[in-house]
Point group: C2
Chain length 321, copies 2
């Protein structure tokens, strides 16, 4: 039997559920929306963390709890929406120890405090695998919501920070070499203690200068393609924003730094497109904002690096592989 990829599964689900409605954002954006009025939409996002696939070696259960919240918050960040409340569903392998539950709860609360949202309820269940499913809920003015489909030809393509650290950190954790862990704390921490760019996302959305936005949890390349596809545009990069630590790690391991930055996944930076006359003022308010390319006509995502033309492939972090 051929196993479906995550994209194929989402495609089947979307087809089935789209019969019922044309989703406002939903399956084609970072979050889903329920309109209350012309000025108020309820914004919802669920993100499921599973022990066997999402918790790398070396990550504590408390860090896993925290990460589950960060992943849901990151999608709100991309839309510029403050999540106000979180619901948490837990699947716990038995026998369940008190310490395990306390540590998960502590990690969840820690992240909720960091992002100023409240955990207001949830569900618990016995399961063969650890499952932490976080549903975030917030409220937004639909006119202020930054979608994936608003990029226009001529817009600046920018990111809120560099890429590649989580991919490098994940390799170090998977190798289980204790010495390397100590030498590469910034890489390892990028995996164990990710940060959602919520403050930046809210500032960017409020500015009105951002035309489209997406988070990068499936990797930079994948996110670039989603913006291009949703907005019916092409993207031309003049640089790949590789993090310095990832760059030296790649050199040391003799692997491609660009590969790490483009296709790594588990990233939490935001990818945005910005009206060209607004970039400088936005850069003042979000200093980490980095210009990496331009929106063009067409549908391709390419990079021009030192005179070389590189095709950015539509692949990235994907479950079910």
């Amino acid at each position: 039997m051929t196993s479906l990829t995550e994209r194929e599964i989402i495609c089947i689900l979307t087809k089935q559920f789209a019969r019922q409605l044309r989703p406002l954002l939903g399956f084609n954006d970072d979050v889903s929306a329920i309109p209350l009025s012309s000025k108020t939409w309820i914004i919802v996002k669920t993100d499921m963390l599973v022990g066997s696939t999402d918790i790398p070696p070396g990550m504590t259960i408390q860090e896993a709890g925290r990460k589950a919240v960060v992943a849901a918050v990151s999608d709100f960040a991309a839309k510029g929406v403050q999540p106000t409340a979180l619901m948490v569903s837990l699947g716990l392998p038995g026998p369940v120890a008190r310490k395990t539950v306390q540590n998960i709860a502590f990690g969840l609360s820690q992240a909720a405090r960091e992002y100023h949202c409240k955990i207001i309820g949830g569900d618990t269940n016995q399961a063969d695998d650890l499952v932490i499913d976080v549903a975030g809920v917030g409220v937004a003015n639909p006119k202020k919501l930054v979608r994936r489909d608003g990029a226009r030809v001529g817009d600046v393509v920018a990111v809120t920070g560099p890429f590649g650290n989580p991919a490098a950190g994940l390799r170090i954790l998977m190798s289980r070499e204790k010495k390397k862990l100590a030498n590469h704390t910034s890489l390892v921490n990028a995996v164990l203690r990710p940060k959602a760019r919520l403050t930046e996302g809210i500032i960017l959305a409020k500015s009105g200068g951002v035309t489209s936005s997406i988070d990068s949890s499936d990797g930079l390349a994948w996110s670039l393609h989603q913006i291009a596809r949703a907005s019916l545009v092409g993207i031309n990069l003049h640089t790949i924003p590789v993090a310095p630590a990832a760059q030296s790690f790649a050199k040391e391991r003799r692997i491609s730094a660009i590969e790490l930055a483009l296709y790594g996944g588990e990233e939490y930076e935001l990818l945005v497109t910005v009206a060209p006359n607004r970039f400088s003022s936005l850069k003042k308010r979000v200093p980490s904002l980095k210009r990496i390319g331009i929106v063009e006509k067409g549908s391709e995502v390419v990079a021009h690096l030192d005179g070389r033309r590189i095709q950015v492939e539509e692949r990235g972090w994907e479950h079910f592989r």
Copy 2:
């Protein structure tokens, strides 16, 4: 290591999260609430179905998808709130077949149609166990919301239908005896095709005559105790509402029908308390409504059956056992 029970887990979580806030309903009621204004609360409920514990033998994956939605909707029914949107997070054991995803999606959509809500997004993940986590979202006027803590001394205790069929059906399914399956379709269907009492719950809440309400997914006895505890009252039953089919099954098997009806779990009837002068008019609008007892002073839940006094124990369907 002693394994925690589900109640103990919820207790640890509640303690941790309650530091952040006094939840409006949340951990002590069927649903959680996010206040938008004095007249509008967002209502949220998540319900996680796990393959290894929640899918009995004989239940198809399509029925499991449908059941996951019914379980979430049932909590909305108890509060008299229409869920308008559903988010679905799936954990799927690999390799994932197309037919599996299609069948789950079909079951989910089927239930969404039955209860007039829309599936607007979700998440998918690889997992060792099948997990279907449904988050329902709706909107309610807090003044119309029927809580668990409003029962008053003298109120009528009533249920929207009889109990025991799912407990009996579950035993038949667990026995895997094909002949029995054919002879007891109503019992088996109570498990495979449960129905949430959404229409009834909305009518009851709108009437203004219902003082407290809870669904019975953890069993009738458990629900009676939750109402008594939240409302600081005692409950005295004059009858146990055993379903006729469960009654004959119990007789045939020489087991206690009362045990099936009180402690079975997987039930979806609503348990409500009603102002005494409102019961008759409510009964006209919800004909299945059945009077089973009265709210009294104290904190005990007892039944008086044929002159015998029976203590109703605070136990029921519980995971992690």
